[in-house]
């Protein structure tokens, strides 16, 4: 059964319970941060931060403000670019809906990071593990695998969902802004919820489940344009035109260079004959 996560930004109060719960369950170390003008911190996802609450201040059109609470996290695409480009075959799409990196296979080339169309590349590299993590690994108390010099991201709490628990973030959420469940059911819920929001005046309310990546396991309910939340309007599978690009290259450059080249030296050969 394919699971998913429904992020209802209309409910989120930005308390960051999920952000910390993710760190707590997955025992991820805290990063050194500083205040730079926004209450958003850490400034970007990283190997130590797999889920981040984002805060976007926009005008409400009538002199006031709208404060949009969003999230940066793995979208668990149905057509995952990261998995497509992974040359080591470390990133797999699991039958439970998660896109998972096998840390022991990953060799840290960061190809997946550049292929991901969301949040400037969700998979992030980690140089080393913290003492706390190594301590837990030694005691055999670390969930999943941890390998230094590999790329990390949300793994949809495999250890929890494969043992009948909801993900740490969904469990922590006070206002059901994060719901974990069967993806199809969540989609239905989302449509329903959006309809209600429309009625209560959230005219921009919409489900975010972009087709360009085949739909996402992490479904958003937004109350404003995707851009306002830092989400791409129409993300595409990064490898969509890979073969076309190959052929364009081979034909244009390949042919365009081979032909004149050939002509030059063909002529040379002829001239050489005449010379004799």
């Amino acid at each position: 059964m394919a699971y998913g996560l429904l992020i209802d930004t209309s409910r989120c109060t930005g308390c960051r319970g999920c952000q910390v719960a993710c760190k707590a369950w997955n025992q991820l170390p805290a990063e050194k941060t500083e205040f730079t003008g926004s209450i958003e911190n850490p400034p970007a996802n990283s190997g130590e931060t797999w889920l981040r609450v984002t805060y976007h201040e926009v005008s409400n059109g009538s002199g006031g403000v709208k404060w949009l609470f969003g999230q940066n996290r793995c979208m668990h695409c149905l057509e995952p670019s990261c998995a497509a480009v992974c040359a080591a075959g470390a990133i797999k799409k699991l039958d439970n809906g998660a896109i998972r990196i096998d840390q022991e296979v990953c060799i840290g080339c960061k190809n997946c990071h550049y292929a991901c169309p969301f949040f400037g590349g969700v998979p992030r590299f980690r140089e080393e593990l913290s003492e706390d993590e190594n301590d837990l690994i030694d005691k055999g108390l670390m969930g999943g695998k941890r390998v230094t010099g590999t790329v990390y991201k949300c793994w949809m709490c495999q250890d929890r969902i494969e043992n009948g628990l909801e993900t740490a973030c969904a469990t922590a959420c006070s206002v059901r802004a994060i719901q974990f469940g069967e993806r199809e059911e969540l989609l239905a819920k989302a449509e329903e919820r959006v309809a209600t929001l429309q009625v209560v005046g959230e005219t921009k309310a919409a489900v975010y489940n972009p087709k360009g990546v085949g739909g996402t396991g992490t479904i958003f309910i937004l109350t404003d344009d995707p851009e306002a939340y830092g989400l791409p309007e129409d993300p595409q599978v990064s490898t969509a035109n890979m073969v076309t690009k190959w052929l364009t290259g081979l034909i244009t450059a390949g042919v365009l260079t081979i032909v004149p080249f050939w002509m030059v030296f063909k002529a040379a050969e002829a001239k050489g004959k005449g010379g004799k």
């Binding site: 910390v20 050194k32 404060w67 497509a84 059901r176 085949g214």
Partner: protein, 1042 residues
């Protein structure tokens, strides 16, 4: 050329193939997920309660072989259903992880006079030394008797006061209830009157304000009952950030019950972001807003006429001597010299034989309702626009919703309480709810969002100078004996004081010696013994030694510079906290006098953390829940209960054999909680014993006035009366039955709520006078004429989904006890007019209890209820530092407040300090930040303090986002980074543009996340009734730091 064209054709042709190819590549067959091992699979699960705000979220602590593995929300706890905010989610790091292990204090520390660092010590050494100093200071500063001048006659009289003015004790809101109780008990036995804690600074005005109008000073409903509301007003609070899990229930109300969420706040908070309606308001102008709401409800006839007639004093006539003069802003009885009111005229009109006269209907000009209407006519929507900066349209929109969508609940916190008009502001809130009939019903009420995990409990057991456990008035010098005390408090409370004295002094408390009443320290009513009073006395060198239990005075007290002086003037100080915070380390304060110049001795004792010990927390909804011990405290750390127990035994042995009267309270103090002390024994002492059988009493009803029972905190009586036959624990705080037969979210089987497990207090008000539910669809409690009484067996009994909040189960409607919805007020009804009233003894009956006859002879009332010292009706006065002039009456500031003089300089010109400064909190940090600023995950999310400045003001001052700015007030200045935002906007106040800037007060110079102390800026002028400082508003200037 040709070639090229052809090649392009090829491309286009092939690109089709391409997409097909990629498609194929993408329906990549999903591989089977690996079976993962759950790292907590074979761990032991221990339930606990979150130690942050008072929502009381259940936690599950996972432990394996004594090692902490994980902490997460308890899905079975109806309050949070497993949810946690960022603070709650970070609990693991209080004990787990490298940082906590290295930085959490695990050793006893001592800082010698003038020393620049700590030295490690042993428990034995520390307890002996501390006890020595306590005894020494106490003996030196003992006050046996005191001369008090009678205000009326003017003659001086000497009274026995048995107290020390040289010792102060602070803190306790983060301790377990049992620990707080022992702290109260020990402190009182030592004669300490400077006994204060966080409640003074966060909700003391709530207790005063709500008690004056409703009888009890607590949140009236349950978090889980909020879902039944039709409208929710958040004003002076920010639950989304400071009580995040409470928002779960707000969201339920909005989504499942169609409630409208309204947020009124100076800035656009995370709560505002979720509200349907947001309205800005100038800090300190809330009384104008509430007054106008009251006026609006009366004019538009939105008030609930029946409710008002049945459950309030609306029909009671007011004494003709009462008056209010808008020109001066004074109520009748004001004395300009003493700046005090004589409340003689704030009473009801009585007929010839002393009975209160009642009007036939609400139109009677003499009745309270008409007086109320008259008083608030000045509070118009125009006035709201002028003084609050809220548009009339917005105001009327809000008013109409509150007037038509019932029931509604109000959420508030420090935004209302921390003002020089704090108590009347809360009273105003309560009066509004009385008018609208929004008390005692499901989905109605007033939610005082308490800030600390157990501040409700620490308040219940009275870690406050003016009360004794169970909200009994602490005696003042003039309450010379038990009878004098009873004259002021009434026979109803006398019974409970006797039980308290029996609990504390056992056999030494006898009917002959007034139950050892003389042992209680008596404070001087004219002296300010509250928090700020204590800080001042320390600064003056009057207080020699102080004990801070989990209270960070340096960061938490307003007007920090005075605190710096105060701590430096102490001879010795004891600090008990999880981390060495700013108070324990005040001597190395970068803005202080320098360690070498500070002679204060400091003892630091490491306590056990929240899930490292057993005991109860009382949440904001008055529910006591038991926390179990999950792991051992680290290093030398010990539970506060053990620390207090060691200290008590040491003191008792020091005073052993003394013949002095002053030492009797310590010698006779009952103290036997086992070795090691057992918190459940302490809880049982609070519950009370039947001293003849030695068994715990079954409830408040079983307490006797003759010394045959004891109870350390009468409102908790019945907590140890669980019935195992019914599947309950004997200790009902351990109950975890999450059934909710009513569907209202009462969860009566989960924990135990005082009094007597009533979940919605004043629920009698949900019925009509004859005891039938006003709204049968939402019936909560009712009078059942058939149901036989448990004791007498006679038919007729109160029953319902909730425990009926009535004096006696068999008090039939129509009888004196049957129609007192607000039974802790002498008046028995809610007070729209806060009259001074003393309920007389019942008319003589042939077969009456001789005690009553005696009481009548002594003219002892049954139950008294006072007014607030600054008026029987809440009236608006401006903050001490305000950019606006009071347009409502002739008195700019509250006439009943006390000047602070040189202790707290205030702004003299608006030109110098043109902007309004407010300080507040954020979700990621908690209060003085002792725990959160030492939690790496939270520090990561909120690494530094910042000041929120509106875009326009920032432009004028050339301040950019992230720039370092200086905020300056008459008290001092701090440097902090700027957050330039539109979430905080300038307001048009009576034609003048007023900018508001706001910063957070969580930061200090110790811990992982450091920052300058924001309270350096705030002032410590106190509320007229409770002396809660006016943290929430003052005047400031900001500039960019070059």
């Amino acid at each position: 050329m040709k070639l090229t064209r052809r090649s392009f054709l090829k491309v286009s042709g092939l690109s089709l193939a391409t997409t097909a190819l990629t498609e194929f590549g993408f329906n990549m067959t999903a591989v089977a997920a690996e079976a993962e091992k759950l790292r907590i699979a074979d761990a032991q699960q221990v339930t606990s309660i979150c130690p942050y705000c008072s929502v009381g979220c259940g936690q599950i602590v996972h432990v394996k072989d004594g090692e902490l593995l994980n902490v997460e929300g308890d899905p079975d706890d109806p309050v949070n259903e497993g949810a946690r905010c960022s603070k709650g989610a970070s609990l693991f790091q209080l004990k787990g992880g490298k940082y906590a292990l290295e930085n959490r204090q695990q050793n006893v520390l001592y800082r010698a006079p003038g020393a620049a660092d700590w030295e490690e010590k042993t428990w034995d050494w520390a307890i002996t030394e501390i006890a020595k100093r306590v005894k020494d200071t106490r003996d030196k500063t003992w006050v046996a008797t005191e001369k008090i001048k009678d205000l009326k006659t003017g003659e001086e009289k000497e009274y026995v006061v048995n107290r020390t003015d040289g010792l102060a004790c602070f803190g306790g809101a983060a301790l377990d209830t049992e620990e707080c109780y022992l702290l109260t008990k020990l402190s009182r036995a030592l004669g300490i009157v400077y006994l204060e804690h966080q409640a003074r600074l966060c909700h003391s005005s709530t207790v005063a304000g709500l008690a004056a109008v409703l009888g009890r000073g607590a949140m009236t409903q349950q978090w889980t009952d909020v879902k039944n509301a039709k409208a929710i007003l958040i004003c002076g609070g920010n639950p989304a950030e400071n009580h995040p899990v409470a928002f779960k229930h707000i969201t339920k109300a909005v989504e499942e019950n169609g409630a409208t969420l309204i947020c009124v706040d100076p800035r656009f908070t995370r709560s505002a972001a979720k509200a349907k309606i947001y309205a800005p308001i100038r800090p300190g102008a809330d009384l104008v807003f509430f007054g106008a709401l009251i006026n609006y409800m009366i004019n538009k006839k939105h008030y609930d006429e029946n409710y008002v007639k049945w459950n309030t004093n609306a029909l009671w006539k007011v004494d003709s001597g009462y008056s209010f003069d808008p020109k001066t802003g004074f109520f009748s009885g004001y004395n300009k010299d003493t700046k005090k009111y004589d409340q003689a005229t704030w009473v009801y009109k009585k007929d010839a034989d002393g009975k209160v006269e009642k009007a036939a209907d609400l139109s009677d000009p003499e009745c309270v309702f008409q007086k109320l209407k008259a008083h608030y006519t000045r509070y118009t929507s125009e006035m709201v626009e002028k003084l609050c900066g809220m548009s009339q349209a917005k105001f009327e929109e809000i008013a109409e919703i509150l007037g038509t969508q019932k029931p509604s609940v109000l959420f508030y916190a420090m935004g209302l309480t921390q003002h020089t008009v704090g108590s009347i502001m809360i009273a105003d809130y309560a009066i509004l709810q009385l008018l609208l009939g929004n008390l005692g019903k499901p989905g109605s009420g007033i939610n005082a969002c308490r800030g600390e995990p157990n501040v409700q409990g620490s308040t219940d057991v009275a870690l406050l100078t003016h009360i004794l456990p169970g909200y009994l008035g602490a005696p003042v010098a003039t309450n010379a004996d038990l009878t004098a005390w009873t004259k002021a408090q009434g026979t109803f409370r006398k019974k409970f004081l006797i039980n308290l004295l029996k609990a504390w002094y056992g056999n030494a408390a006898t009917a002959e010696n007034d139950f050892a009443y003389s042992y209680l320290p008596k404070r001087n009513a004219a002296k300010n013994t509250t928090h700020v009073g204590a800080i001042t006395a320390m600064a003056d060198g009057k207080i020699k030694g102080a004990i801070c239990v989990g209270m960070n005075l340096m960061v938490g007290t307003s007007n920090t510079n005075l605190v710096r002086r105060a701590l430096a003037n102490l001879e010795w100080m004891v600090s008990i906290n999880l981390f060495t915070e700013e108070t324990a380390c005040f001597w190395r304060d970068p803005d202080g006098a320098g360690a070498e110049n500070i002679q204060t001795e400091v003892f630091f004792l490491p306590p056990a953390g929240p899930y490292e010990k057993e005991g109860t927390f009382v949440d904001s909804g008055r529910v006591l829940q038991w926390k179990y011990k999950a792991v051992e405290p680290p290093g030398d750390a010990k539970a506060d209960l053990d620390i207090l127990d060691m200290l008590a035994h040491e003191l008792k042995s020091l005073y052993k054999g003394s013949k002095e009267v002053k030492d009797k309270p310590i010698q006779d103090l009952t103290w036997g909680y086992g070795e090691p002390p057992d918190p459940e024994k302490v809880l049982t002492e609070m519950n009370g014993y039947n001293l003849t059988t030695g068994k715990p009493v079954t409830g408040i009803g079983a307490l006797m006035a003759d010394g045959t029972t004891s109870s350390g905190c009468w409102i908790y009586s019945g907590i140890m009366a669980g019935d195992p036959a019914k599947g309950e624990n004997v200790n009902r705080s351990k109950n975890r039955n999450a059934d909710d037969p009513s569907g209202y979210g009462l969860y009566s089987g989960f924990g135990f709520s005082w009094p007597s497990n009533v979940r919605i207090i004043y629920n009698r008000a949900s019925c009509d006078p004859s005891g039938n539910p006003i709204d049968p669809a939402k019936k909560l409690v009712w009078w059942d004429p058939e149901k036989p009484d448990a004791k007498t067996g006679k038919p007729g009994n109160w029953t319902g989904f909730d425990v009926p909040d009535v004096p006696a189960k068999d008090a039939a409607p129509g009888t004196p006890g049957g129609n007192v919805p607000f039974r802790l007020l002498g008046d028995g009804v809610g007070k729209l007019f806060m009259a001074k009233y003393a309920k007389p003894q019942p008319d003589p009956k042939p077969d009456e209890d001789p005690a009553i006859t005696k009481a009548r002879e002594l003219e002892l009332p049954v139950l008294t209820s006072g007014s607030l010292v600054d008026g029987p009706f809440p009236e608006h006065y401006e903050p001490v530092e305000s950019p606006a002039e009071n347009l409502l009456n002739g008195s700019q500031t509250n006439p009943a407040i006390v000047e602070r003089g040189e202790y707290c300089p205030i702004a003299t010109s608006i030109e110098e300090y043109p902007h309004v400064l407010s300080t507040y909190r954020m979700c990621e940090h908690w209060l003085t930040g002792v725990m959160t600023r030492n939690t790496p995950w939270l520090v990561e999310a909120m690494p530094e303090n910042f000041v929120e400045i509106n875009t326009e003001l920032a432009k004028d001052k050339g301040i950019k986002n992230g720039d370092l700015v200086e905020i300056k007030t008459a008290r001092g200045s701090i440097e902090v980074k700027a957050a330039v935002t539109e979430r905080i906007k300038p307001l048009d106040i009576n034609g003048k543009k007023v900018h508001i800037v706001g910063t957070f007060w969580h930061f200090g110079f110790e811990g992982l996340a450091k920052g300058s102390i924001a309270n350096t800026l705030t002032l410590d002028y106190g509320d007229a009734n409770t002396q809660i400082p006016e943290y929430k508003v003052c005047l400031c200037d900001v500039r960019k730091v070059k």
